[in-house]
């Protein structure tokens, strides 16, 4: 019998100061060392003393440090009790810039505001995009070799990469062909999205599946940004995964999910991981019922933008609400999104309560 409410993470963890300073070759403060000591002991990470000494001497190689950070995050998720884990995106700058730096034809420009004082570096497509090399393979193989839990690989999808980038190459090709500004942008966007789907994301996925990947989560936070482009988003997703034998999920956060339907029904995905805790609005789940969508749901039960720790009882109640509403969908328990913006302490407490809450929900139904 299948386990009810399997628990999963969604993506990133915060990068601790000892990691960032270690990568820059900077000396660690007493506080950094204390944090490293505390967590390494708590997570029972083998070989940690050697890493610590290398960090203190500033002689650690980037590969060794990245491997340790990945192992640290795997153990972090395991200790919290999750059923499906990855490496907390320890090797990635973040979900956008990391893949873009592996694509020829992309120029990374300066910062653009996301909100308040939060910025990201935006890429501009200045030439035909070509893959420099598989950019998730090494991290996946490492995770696979260091955990006995289920593994799910988060990958940023083609639509989001295109939507978060400037599109100089495809727009400039059309300047003399399409006079209307609006139509030109529309066609140029389609060309860009499909090029990324076929030439960048799909080859990465094929390489991962050949290496043994069983479940890949395609992150598409931009999916509903342009409501009229939802069909483009769905078509690009399908083009990306066409004919590949693997479980696929799509993760979309901070969105109006009603904009995705009915097009989303055509998407070749097995699992939909959505955010609900931030809005504290689980009424959106009725959409699944309304459209007869019986696929797996990754239910966001932890707000990743708040330090308030959800109790196990709150997690339980959210899961049971979804379970009772959607009897035919398999419900997974997860945070709304990655925990990049929370401290490790907050993330750990939240994830531990996620696991306890899922257990309470199971007990309630047993």
């Amino acid at each position: 019998m299948k386990k009810l409410f399997p628990t999963q993470e969604i993506g990133s963890l915060a990068k601790p100061s000892w990691l960032l300073k270690g990568l820059r070759g900077q000396p660690l403060s007493e506080e950094d060392i204390r944090e490293l000591d505390t967590w390494a002991k708590k997570l029972d990470i083998q070989g940690y003393e050697e890493i610590k000494q290398l960090l203190l001497k500033k002689t650690i190689s980037e590969k060794k440090l990245r491997d340790f950070a990945a192992l640290f995050n795997i153990k972090f998720f395991e200790k919290a009790g999750l059923d499906f884990v990855y490496d907390g995106e320890a090797r990635r700058i973040e979900m956008y810039e990391y893949p873009m730096r592996h694509i020829e034809g992309i120029k990374i420009l300066d910062w653009v505001r996301s909100f308040d004082n939060k910025y990201y570096r935006k890429g501009a497509c200045v030439d035909k995009p070509r893959l420099k090399g598989f950019y998730h393979l090494e991290e996946f193989v490492f995770v696979k070799n260091h955990t006995s839990r289920g593994v799910k690989i988060p990958i940023t999808g083609p639509y989001t990469l295109a939507d978060w980038s400037f599109n100089e190459y495809y727009e400039s090709r059309l300047v003399d062909k399409i006079k209307d500004f609006r139509e030109r942008k529309k066609i140029a966007k389609q060309d860009f999205v499909f090029e990324l789907a076929r030439e960048i994301i799909r080859p990465n996925i094929i390489a991962l599946v050949k290496a043994g990947a069983k479940w890949i989560q395609i992150d598409e936070p931009a999916a509903t940004t342009h409501p009229n482009e939802v069909p483009l988003f769905v078509d690009a997703f399908n083009e990306t995964v066409k004919g590949i034998d693997c479980k696929f999920s799509v993760h979309i956060c901070y969105s109006d999910y009603s904009l995705l339907y009915p097009d989303l029904l055509e998407m070749k995905t097995d699992h939909l991981a959505f955010e609900y805790a931030n809005k504290k609005n689980y009424d959106d789940l009725k959409l699944f019922k309304e459209y007869g969508d019986k696929r797996e749901i990754g239910l966001g039960v932890l707000d990743v933008h708040s330090n308030e720790i959800e109790t196990p009882e709150v997690v339980r109640d959210r899961l049971l609400y979804a379970y009772n509403l959607l009897e035919e969908n398999e419900i997974y328990a997860n945070p709304d999104c990655g925990f990049r913006t929370r401290s490790l302490d907050v993330a750990f407490k939240k994830l531990s309560n996620l696991v306890r809450g899922a257990q309470l929900a199971r007990e309630n139904l047993s």
Binding site: L109, V112, N117, E168, E183, K185, Y254
Partner: protein, 319 residues
């Protein structure tokens, strides 16, 4: 007459961005951060003056988003969740209206470098449009479009009076929501009345700017609104579809794309403006970006501003 102007929040310099992070980490104090913001504001003002702007803005570097000064100062509003800002990878704090709106004092001048602007001539203020504020807020108190828009108008009216008394001579209302939401006839009329009340006795030039969406369906009703200019984002509205509309007002022509790093060819833009002028015959024209330049890195935004001067030069004697 043809003018060139900014339409919204200008991107911060890399130096200022780093300073905001240093401030958040406690590495610099508030005064140091404020000095850096002021220094950056001066650069933005200087850029506009050098480019030949008649009405300048301060770049709105103190505004975290278009609504934030109002959330921080109006009683009855509290900050809500981060919410996507239309079709952008940018987020704003949703205003939660949970009580009657009131304000015992004016506050917007604390978010605008009035002194820096005033010493340099004509200046422009950009405010959230009434309709956009109402539609993007989560209202749990009024539950009535008319009452909410009128109460908000009263507060904005006091702010406009204060700002025009301090020298503001161009007031622009940013109304992206007006192209996104389906408006009932009643809402169109109520918003018109609210605007009439708002700017009835305002001496400054006024503008409603529509962007991020197709303005075609709303353009004719908007031309009845009591403002001097209507703004159109020509990267979201197809020129061919609106060119036959008799444009009885000034046009803020959003023809420089603030959401693309590709620099427009000045000749293409000037040729487009000539077409717009020939068909739509606006009373006068403001050539501008389609929306806030903050969607671009600072160095690209500056290039797009300078591009306006080239366009203007090409149009000399042609309109």
């Amino acid at each position: 007459m043809v003018d060139i102007q900014l339409t919204g929040i200008f991107p911060r310099s890399n130096e200022l961005i780093r300073a905001t992070w240093d401030y958040e980490k406690g590495k610099i104090d508030k005064e140091t951060l404020e000095n850096k913001i002021e220094k950056d504001t001066k650069r933005i003002i200087e850029l506009q003056l050098q480019t030949g702007f008649r009405y300048i803005t301060d770049g709105m570097l103190l505004w975290q988003d278009l609504f934030r000064p109002f959330i921080e100062n109006i009683e009855g509003i509290s900050p809500g969740p981060l919410t996507r800002w239309f079709n952008n990878n940018t987020f704003f704090r949703k205003p939660i209206i949970d009580n009657k709106l009131s304000s015992s004092r004016t506050f917007l001048h604390e978010y605008i470098y009035v002194d820096l602007l005033s010493e340099n001539g004509h200046w422009k203020v950009i405010l959230p449009g009434l309709f956009t504020f109402v539609k993007l807020s989560a209202d749990t108190y009024y539950k009535n479009f008319k009452n909410l828009i009128m109460d908000f108008s009263r507060i904005i009216k006091a702010e406009i009076t204060n700002l025009t008394n301090r020298g503001a001579s161009f007031i622009q209302f940013n109304e992206p929501a007006i192209t996104w939401c389906t408006l009932t006839k009643e809402e169109i009329n109520l918003a018109k009345e609210a605007y009439r009340f708002l700017i009835d006795d305002v001496s400054a030039r006024t503008c409603i700017h529509t962007y991020f969406g197709d303005a075609t369906p709303i353009l004719s009703p908007l031309l009845d609104y009591p403002v001097d200019y209507i703004g159109v984002d020509f990267y979201s509205t197809t020129f061919e579809e609106i060119r036959e509309i008799s444009f009885s007002k000034g046009l803020l022509c959003g023809c420089i794309d603030s959401r693309s790093s590709l620099l427009e060819k000045p000749s293409n833009i000037s040729s487009f403006i000539e077409d717009v002028n020939e068909y739509m015959k606006p009373q006068d024209m403001v050539i501008s970006q389609n929306c806030d330049l903050e969607f671009l890195p600072r160095n690209v935004a500056e290039k797009k501003v300078k591009l306006l001067a080239e366009v203007l030069k090409m149009l000399e004697g042609k309109l």
